[in-house]
């Protein structure tokens, strides 16, 4: 039987994108609450403000657009908010409703799958809450002003489940994963507080102290 998480144990869904990018980044934000708001994230926020209106609904043709929809999944153990859900109701196909999720991102498509993972996690929540199936969703990027379709295939679904499980595992231990200094650090907004180079100097403390003592002996 699948494990169901208690409400108290749910983790922030938004964390899954950080986690997919770098486990340590997620740890710093969600375990250590170390987060400096820099210009980039402020831009991201402002862009979100426009879609962040829970009382807003709009209908375009047969598509109803709702914003800021609370989400939760007890099997993934995640909770969060979807930016936009588009609900399509076809009169002609016996009241079958089609849900699709759109997530707004500043910037442009990334080389890794963090945005797809986040979108799919949202879809899994919605599937669980409404007992429906959602086959695809969209990522909209501010810089390219373009929406990209994302298929929720089994491969992506499994990846989301594995990430969520590992997030819970690390969260329970309360341990921020150690830094692995690599090339993505360069683009990481948490570089300055992560100080990934520190992972290399771990063993230097003894040497450093011996040097201090040696200096005291020179007189």
């Amino acid at each position: 039987m699948e494990k169901l998480y208690e409400e108290d144990d749910l983790l922030a869904l938004s964390g899954i994108q950080h986690f997919a990018f770098c486990e340590r980044q997620w740890g710093l934000i969600h375990v250590e609450s170390q987060w400096v708001e820099n210009v980039k994230t402020v831009e991201g926020k402002n862009m979100h403000k426009r879609v962040d209106d829970p009382y807003f609904t709009e209908t375009r043709g047969d598509v109803k657009i709702v914003r800021s929809v609370p989400l939760m999944s007890k099997t993934l153990g995640l909770y969060g908010v979807a930016d936009v859900i588009e609900i399509q109701q076809h009169d002609d196909n016996f009241g079958i409703v089609n849900y699709s999720i759109v997530e707004y991102k500043r910037g442009k498509p990334k080389a890794d799958d963090r945005d797809q993972v986040q979108l799919c996690a949202q879809a899994l929540c919605l599937e669980e809450m409404l007992a429906i199936t959602i086959n695809y969703g969209y990522l909209f990027y501010g810089e390219t002003k373009h929406r990209y379709r994302v298929e929720f295939n089994n491969c992506l679904r499994t990846r989301v489940q594995e990430l969520a499980q590992r997030m819970h595992l690390l969260f329970e231990k309360g341990q921020t994963p150690p830094a692995v200094y690599n090339k993505k650090c360069k683009n990481c907004s948490l570089f300055d507080i992560c100080v990934p180079e520190l992972s290399k100097v771990n063993k230097r403390t003894q040497k450093y102290l011996s040097r201090v003592f040696d200096d005291m002996r020179i007189e």
Partner: protein, 343 residues
Amino acid sequence: MRKMLNVLYITNPEAYLAKDGENLVVRVQDEEIFRTPIHYLEGIVTFGYMGASPALLGMCVEKGVTVSFLTAHGKHQATVHGTPKGNVLLRRKQYRLADSESESAKLASMFIIGKIANCRTVLRRFMSDYGDKVQIEEVDRVSKIMARNVLRLGKELLLDEVRGIEGESAQMYFSVFDQLIICHKDHFFMKGRNRRPPLDNMNALLSFLYSLLLHETRSALETVGLDPYVGFLHRDRPGRTGLALDLMEEFRPYLVDRLALSLINRRQVTGDGFLKKESGGVIMKENVRKIVIEAWQKRKREEITHPFLEKKIYVGLLPYAQALLLARHLRGDLDRYPPFVWK
């Protein structure tokens, strides 16, 4: 390393701090005298009794800017800051270690190693700068005692032994401090440390600078998620920021004592900037406070190669760097805490 943002110091007791959009605005008698976007700041420190609007405090809390209210003499009264940062597990580790005498002694040794080694460097720098002009035998002797005391701290000690070495070193150091003052000897002298209240100009100047430093170590610790109140060398006492005082030790000689000496020896502050009150306590006049704060701000913008991290950082980021290393040590990422030792 993290970017260095500014700390805004406000000394005019008539100032009122308000919010306008995303800006901090300082007004004196309804007239705007200063304005800055809030995201340029990491802290605001006020001296004296000025007001701040709830809207401004709300914005500061939201943006992670700490606002500290100090008395005109630099005594801490209150701080406004947001939800504590960091991992509760890290703080529990801190409390567990602080509960253990032997673990506390180990960490206390490290802070004091930093302090005494840096005191020694203050003395040695002085000898190499002025050795040909003034008598330095006594300074030299004390510097050697400092070196010996650092070595003593390398052994495993009881907390009281660490305190003993600290006390003895401080007393010796301040016994020759007077010789390091080479100008205005009749206005500035050191006949021992006194704080509550400072009884002479030198002590008033030092106390004021230490209060600026304490503010920095305190917020550095908060930033990395440690509890500034629970120290290892400085044991718990209500209202005392024990860990902030611990962390401050290694910076006292390097950041404060040298700055105080150079302000005097370069004649940037003079005796008439100080006021002896009827009780014998000495306070600094506002114009001197301004000069001192300016010098402090300038010092923070200088660069130094961090001896352990081996990279260039702003002097103003030193407390943060050390707080970070301390958090890493408590978390178990670093096997020892490397104190800041300046050569």
